[in-house]
Symmetry: C2
Subunit: 346 residues, 2 copies
């Protein structure tokens, strides 16, 4: 058994991150990470007629770009594992359709990139695939329409609300053989996934859909603590612990919960939702969110910094709030989930 502790897996043959791609909207391009993204689309409709089709177009761009960046042919990728926030994975179904690669649709809300990397890593290391494409996306306007109010209402948002990132991030994981055939990467710039921690649904009874950081922070804390316990490490084992989209308030709640358990992660924790926009110039309230938030921060910024040698070992923890418009209107809670992925520079 390759399991480690109660919720984790340690990979004996760590899958390689063969390549990555990030495609974002105008606002993300104008943010602090703007210079790191592979492609910026100034048109929020990406040339399409609806927000949903625009999101599919972002995803299709990310998929094609990651194939090029990884130097991998479409027929060398055994599966796509992907999903998005929209009901019945609408953006993904149409986003990956034309690639005609065997497909697994997944839903982990904003934690989807973590879920996708987890499953993809198992598939590659388990020898069920030489290459797997992990992808996810979100779109501000499509998400507001689906979960909150149509943009045209111009409704006010509370300070705890986050701003859904418009963007799609994609990664290709591959085995040693596919890595060897690859010419793109400089020696020493290899990144692998050495372990994963699978989240449990964690529900603290939050019902406020404008306060997703509070719904997700307990799940992030649970997964980070499980990771430490399963691997017998503490925060010092990682150069960075990166949560997905807790935002400023959610990050504070994460510190409160972990510190109440006697664990401090404050020193080397960052949150993609806090990183992606500049609060002084971009009024997003508590930060960025959405499947795309952690996905483009990983693929645009974090993996680049790892390949450059700035970071050697990252615990990447995308966080998801399992909210649906129906559950919200029926006054149910918002269950949270988070997946932990250990990325190492090799």
């Amino acid at each position: 058994m390759k399991t480690k502790g109660k919720q984790s897996v340690a990979f004996a043959k760590p899958p390689y991150v063969l390549g990555e791609a990030s495609v974002v909207g105008k606002m993300e391009g104008e943010g602090p990470l703007g210079k790191y993204f592979h492609e910026i689309c100034p048109d929020p409709f990406v040339g399409k007629k609806t927000w949903e089709e625009a999101e599919s177009a972002l995803m299709e761009k990310a998929c094609n770009l990651v194939l090029a960046n990884a130097g991998v042919r479409r027929d060398e990728v055994n599966y796509i594992v992907g999903g998005d926030l929209l009901a019945q994975l609408m953006a993904t179904s149409f986003g990956v359709e034309r690639l005609q690669i065997p497909f697994f649709g997944i839903y982990g809300a904003c934690s989807t990139m973590g879920e996708s990397l987890t499953l993809s890593a198992m598939m590659v290391e388990g020898e069920y695939a030489q290459g797997v494409l992990a992808v996810t996306s979100s779109h501000f306007a499509g998400a507001e329409k689906q979960f909150r109010f149509p943009l045209a209402y111009g409704n006010q948002r509370p300070a705890s609300a986050t701003w859904t990132v418009t963007g799609s991030g994609a990664v290709i994981l591959g085995n040693e053989a596919l890595m060897s055939g690859q010419k793109q990467l400089a020696p020493g710039a290899k990144v692998v996934i050495t372990g994963i921690t699978v989240g449990r649904i964690t529900d603290y009874g939050i019902k406020d859909s404008m306060h997703m950081g509070a719904a997700m922070a307990p799940a992030a804390a649970a997964t980070i603590l499980a990771n430490f316990s399963d691997f017998g490490v503490d925060a010092k084992a990682y150069d960075l612990i990166v949560t997905g989209d807790l935002g400023t308030i959610g990050s504070q709640i994460l510190y409160d919960i972990t510190e109440a358990r006697g664990v401090s992660i404050r020193k080397n924790h960052i949150d993609c939702g806090v990183k992606i926009y500049d609060p002084a110039r971009q009024d997003v309230h508590a930060g960025g969110s959405g499947c795309g938030c952690s996905a483009v921060t990983l693929t645009g910024y974090l993996l680049r910094k790892m390949r450059e040698g700035v970071y050697k070992r990252i615990l990447f923890v995308p966080t998801g709030a399992m909210l649906s418009p129906v559950s919200f209107h029926e006054e149910l809670t918002i269950p949270g989930i988070a997946y932990g992925i250990i990325l190492e520079r090799k």
Copy 2:
């Protein structure tokens, strides 16, 4: 590499089906397969206040029942892999929440049981788990509310429409070690998964949400033909080829497509959607559908018949129509997908 052909995997150490559970509604209990189901819930609300909570309750019952039926403790199950038809997997999030087992949410529309078994089988054979619980559900009233019209409208349905099955099916897959510790099953009644074929999104341009059989039949045909090609077999290799919920019209389209390619599956093909209701007594038009349809037919009827020795080798092909209310209203097509799972009596 354990891959076989272009889209398939052959398992060297086939995961065992340690146990199964089927929980259905009143109408399914009154149908031709009624006597095979493990539990019938006469109350469509299952004691809850909403259709969605009722569906979660069905799923929670199926999860608890499958643990009992498989003779497996909750802490022996490493992951739950599950999903449903509702936006953002609402039924599943609340259905599995109390089990507190690490969770992967997936969405393959009505093919979800196939997607779940595929991923679960990889996890067990790949030694990432000793046991995995694969589960899915659907509820007639919740699905009508989400995808079509509120029941109270009393709208008419065309002859091509199918009836969403109210029910949840769950399976526990396990490795040799977990199987050995098990006392329930009589010798010779063991069932394993020996291979899988992962579907591609197949889109013939169907836009009619009341004609899902037509949207899914091309995907079923593609996956069945890929399975035959990857494993070098034909229809005679299987005692039964079981599609998920094509219904009567979709099944005919499946025959038309496969026969145009010179392949006949008519003799040993059945469709769960055709099997589950009695057209003479139950007016469901083209048959049953929904995630629950193939899941309860597998867990209630098919696995029992395999354990009894009636069937030795089944190709189980749950079929999904990646329809969303938004994509329908935006007049997009309905992409289809299907997963093929080879079940063998050992």
